[in-house]
């Protein structure tokens, strides 16, 4: 017994040390910087700075855009996941691959490619022009940022919902039919409730990166649209005010933790995982 315990400790030690140094301590540093000023004295000014007109505006815009793109992702992903789950493809890994494959082309380049597709004389407008439709002025607008978010994070919504759907025992659906439920009733009372863990996990996985992005807004939103991510990034790389940047990050983390708590409540058994 004692021996077994020692092997366990031996195996877990490297990871626990690693997690402490590279996960917990860094997070502690963010809190330390966020809650002190340059002299090292305690202050909540850095966190309270989120109330400032410009920061508040960036935060609200971030929340707005990420909520909208999460919603769009969900509306696009659910039917897609249902179709994929009904296709009877027993190559589960193939479906996952199709969605992960684009990641092998650099994320920045893929997002940049939307510039080419969306700009004034871009591909999209040329296609619209071909059908004598009015051109869309998308690039450097919030709409373009939403599109970039949906494009980048859609797989994170599809995969957990798809996994939740394929896990449903067909006989459960049959049982509902057997008990008199029609197709729509079966979906509303059985299929949909059983996929809620997947949906919640999908929402978390889309909402968090969308809320905190600074790259998509920079690449597709032009220089005028500032999201909270852009503000924080600039505090660290240009303005050099780490205390303010950390303080604003703490605000972000409050949202993230809130999100994680909700997902933990709905997904107790880790059913909504991506794989």
């Amino acid at each position: 017994m004692k021996n077994k315990k020692r092997t366990g400790q031996l195996l877990s030690a490297p990871y626990l040390v690693w997690a402490a140094i590279f996960i917990l301590v860094p997070l502690g540093m963010v809190f330390y910087y966020g809650l002190t000023d340059k002299t090292g004295a305690f202050t909540i000014a850095n966190v309270a700075a989120i109330m400032g007109a410009e920061h508040a505006k960036a935060l609200w815009l971030s929340i707005g855009l990420s909520v909208v793109s999460t919603l769009i992702c969900f509306l696009l992903a659910y039917p897609l996941a249902m179709i994929l789950a009904n296709m009877n493809v027993n190559q589960h890994s193939f479906i996952v691959l199709v969605f992960i494959l684009p990641m092998w082309m650099n994320f920045l380049l893929r997002t940049l490619a939307w510039q080419t597709l969306l700009e004034k004389n871009g591909v999209l407008n040329q296609i619209l022009g071909f059908f004598h439709l009015p051109p869309l002025n998308l690039i450097n607008t919030p709409a373009a940022i939403i599109l970039g978010m949906v494009y980048n994070f859609l797989p994170f919504m599809v995969l957990p919902i798809y996994n939740a759907l394929v896990k449903i025992d067909p006989s459960v659906v049959n049982a509902a039919r057997d008990l008199g439920a029609n197709g729509i009733q079966t979906f509303l009372k059985i299929t949909f409730p059983l996929t809620i863990p997947g949906i919640i996990s999908g929402i978390t996985m889309v909402f968090v990166p969308a809320l905190t992005t600074f790259v998509i807004s920079k690449l597709l939103g032009g220089s005028k649209i500032l999201l909270i991510g852009n503000v924080i990034e600039e505090e660290f790389t240009q303005a050099g005010n780490w205390h303010l940047g950390s303080g604003l990050s703490i605000v972000l983390m409050i949202f993230i933790i809130f999100n994680m708590v909700i997902s933990a409540i709905f997904d107790k058994n880790g059913e909504g995982s991506m794989l």
């Binding site: 195996l11 690693w18 590279f22 193939f94 082309m105 080419t116 859609l154 600074f214 780490w242 794989l275």
Partner: protein
């Protein structure tokens, strides 16, 4: 019968169109980039005819080749280290009591669930405060950190599936614990370790945000190199390189997935 048949046909066609549109959406930028890599014009908004010249000049571009080397090196080493540490951690965590396991897994999931930007700046603050020299080393440490959760995500379910009695049976038959592990348990969890490794590799390769905050001046991965080029305009060689990477992966996947497909074809005939 024919009525429902017709309805079904309409339904499946609609479904196919829907899937088609989504995949067009997901893959249109990739097609665009591939096309741009063959564009003779240096400006991305103008089609200057078909050309291979960026593929030729790519190999003469030392900066890009260095960034490529850095990217691959980091992805390879970080995912390997993450696979080893993560697998060992999974085995250990699986033996822990329920409460302890919940705490450790909670901490583990932080880098995956937290915003990349927060992970990035937190590591940056750590490296600065403890006097790390920014460079390949700091990028590597950061990548290992965010790769481990992905490995554990893939390995954990596998470990849970492994029947503890199999391991005990092996020891009962005289194998040492280590031997029992490598002979009996490891083969069972290997697929999980491999997919975890692959996942970690992909995540490392595609990462920009965390690298952005933890790299030193003068050290670039492909991502950070592209980011600095955004304002001046992306060098077309970059398109050529990413096309090569993408098509190589596509080809590899095709080769790996081919044998079962052939079998199905034969069965249909």
């Amino acid at each position: 019968m024919t009525k429902t048949g017709k309805k079904n046909a309409v339904k499946t066609t609609a479904q196919k169109i829907y899937i088609g549109l989504i995949f067009l959406f997901l893959y249109a930028p990739i097609l665009t980039l591939i096309l741009l890599s063959f564009n003779a014009s240096r400006v991305r908004t103008k089609w200057g005819g078909f050309s291979f010249k960026w593929y030729v000049s790519l190999f003469g571009n030392r900066e890009i080749m260095q960034a490529l080397w850095n990217t691959l090196f980091i992805a390879f080493v970080a995912s390997l280290a993450a696979a080893v540490i993560g697998t060992a951690a999974c085995i250990a965590v699986n033996r822990m009591t329920r409460k302890k396991r919940a705490v450790v897994m909670g901490i583990t999931n932080i880098p995956m669930l937290n915003a990349d930007i927060v992970t990035g700046i937190s590591l940056m603050l750590l490296f600065i405060s403890f006097g790390f020299k920014f460079g390949l080393g700091t990028i590597l440490l950061s990548h290992i950190t965010f790769c481990i959760p992905y490995v554990m995500l893939c390995v954990m379910p596998r470990i849970r599936q492994v029947d503890a009695s199999v391991y005990e049976a092996a020891m009962d038959l005289g194998a040492s614990p280590l031997r029992a592990f490598f002979k009996v348990v490891f083969p069972d969890i290997l697929p999980g370790v491999l997919s975890g490794y692959l996942m970690a590799f992909t995540m490392s390769l595609d990462d920009f945000i965390i690298t952005h905050f933890t790299k030193g001046a003068g050290v670039d991965t492909l991502s950070t190199k592209i980011y600095t080029e955004v304002k001046k305009g992306i060098k077309p060689e970059m398109y050529a390189l990413s096309t090569i990477i993408f098509l190589t992966v596509l080809l590899l996947l095709f080769l790996v997935n081919r044998p079962p497909k052939e079998k199905i074809d034969k069965q249909n005939i």
